[in-house]
């Protein structure tokens, strides 16, 4: 019976990912990042446009993240909740959120330090990024019990490894990495959404509730 309770809790955690919308949104965010890095690779350094691009990185990424999250929630309200119901998850404790932010900043700072000090070849950046993604996806897979996340992590590692082997490690290499990752997430999300729509009934017009 203890296992049954655990299964119910795992299913409840999995529900957020059952419609594939999160993966579609995250895939879109990766594609935005890929386009940004491609622009950075193509624009001549030292130009005004290049400088604006560098300065606006945080704004672009935060703005895209915010917009995509809003879009995802809109689609969930229209597609998912009327079909299979609504759940609100508890907010993470402030301490946990701060730890996640600090950990992300530390990883970013460490990678930046390693690149700037030439501690590793710049061509290894896609591999290292792939390794980080693979690790994170493994953790997500373990937490949710969904196999497709570690699989995406493995694909990220393969893509990163292939780019590093080909010696493409600068902005262009990272652009290709994030573009491929974005397409992988989008494909996974689309397949999950298709499966979800096929396996669930269209919402009835009757009321939700007693």
């Amino acid at each position: 019976m203890k296992d049954d309770l655990k299964k119910i809790q795992t299913r409840t955690t999995q529900y957020w990912f059952s419609d594939g919308l999160y993966e579609l949104a995250f895939g879109a965010l990766c594609l935005v990042l890929a386009l940004y890095l491609l622009a950075q690779a193509l624009l001549p350094k030292g130009t005004l446009l290049y400088s604006i691009l560098v300065i606006s990185f945080v704004l672009v990424m935060l703005g895209s993240g915010f917009l995509l999250t809003r879009l995802m929630n809109v689609f969930k309200a229209r597609l998912t909740y009327p079909r299979t119901g609504y759940i609100a998850y508890p907010s993470k404790p402030r301490r946990t959120r701060w730890i996640s932010v600090l950990l992300g900043m530390c990883i970013g700072a460490l990678m930046g330090f390693v690149v700037v000090r030439n501690l590793i070849s710049i061509s290894l950046l896609p591999l290292v990024t792939g390794l980080v993604f693979a690790f994170v996806m493994l953790l997500v897979g373990l937490r949710t019990g969904l196999l497709r996340f570690p699989l995406i992590g493995f694909i990220a590692l393969v893509i990163g490894g292939a780019l590093s082997l080909a010696g493409i490690g600068d902005s262009l290499g990272l652009s290709i990495f994030y573009g491929s990752l974005g397409l992988t997430f989008a494909l996974s999300g689309a397949c999950t959404l298709r499966s979800y729509l096929h396996s669930t009934a269209t919402p009835q017009e009757s009321s939700n509730g007693e």
């Binding site: 299913r11 409840t12 009327p82 299979t84 119901g85 609100a88 939700n208 509730g209």
Partner: protein, 109 residues
């Protein structure tokens, strides 16, 4: 078996019967994991009819274990359920009792 082991019978009797009922156990387990869930989600996960689920939710609400809020989403009535502090505590006690019971009985057997 319970007659041969009076202590076992006592420990079984101590388990919260309101939560122990299978359908209500699923409801409480789900609500323990989330901040709130709507009626449709609970109905799908329990597999109960609307009337049956409503009855179980009413019992849990009467005991003070859950809070039910009736609201609207895009003009469609929506019933939201969440676990109260009392319900959360009751589930924790129930889960610990069950865990202790299973582990103790496995050791003895």
């Amino acid at each position: 078996m319970a007659n041969d082991h009076p202590d076992l019978a006592r420990r079984i009797a101590e388990v919260d019967r309101l939560i122990h009922e299978p359908a209500r156990l699923v409801v409480v387990t789900i609500l323990y994991t989330v901040k709130e869930a709507d009626f449709l989600y609970l109905q799908r996960e329990t597999g109960l009819t609307k009337g049956n689920l409503s009855s179980h939710l009413a019992k849990l609400e009467e005991a003070g274990y859950i809070h039910i809020e009736k609201t609207y989403r895009n003009k469609i009535p929506l019933t939201l359920c969440s676990l109260t502090e009392l319900g959360r505590k009751a589930f924790t006690i129930y889960r610990d009792q069950l865990k202790h019971f299973i582990e103790t009985e496995l050791e003895n057997s």
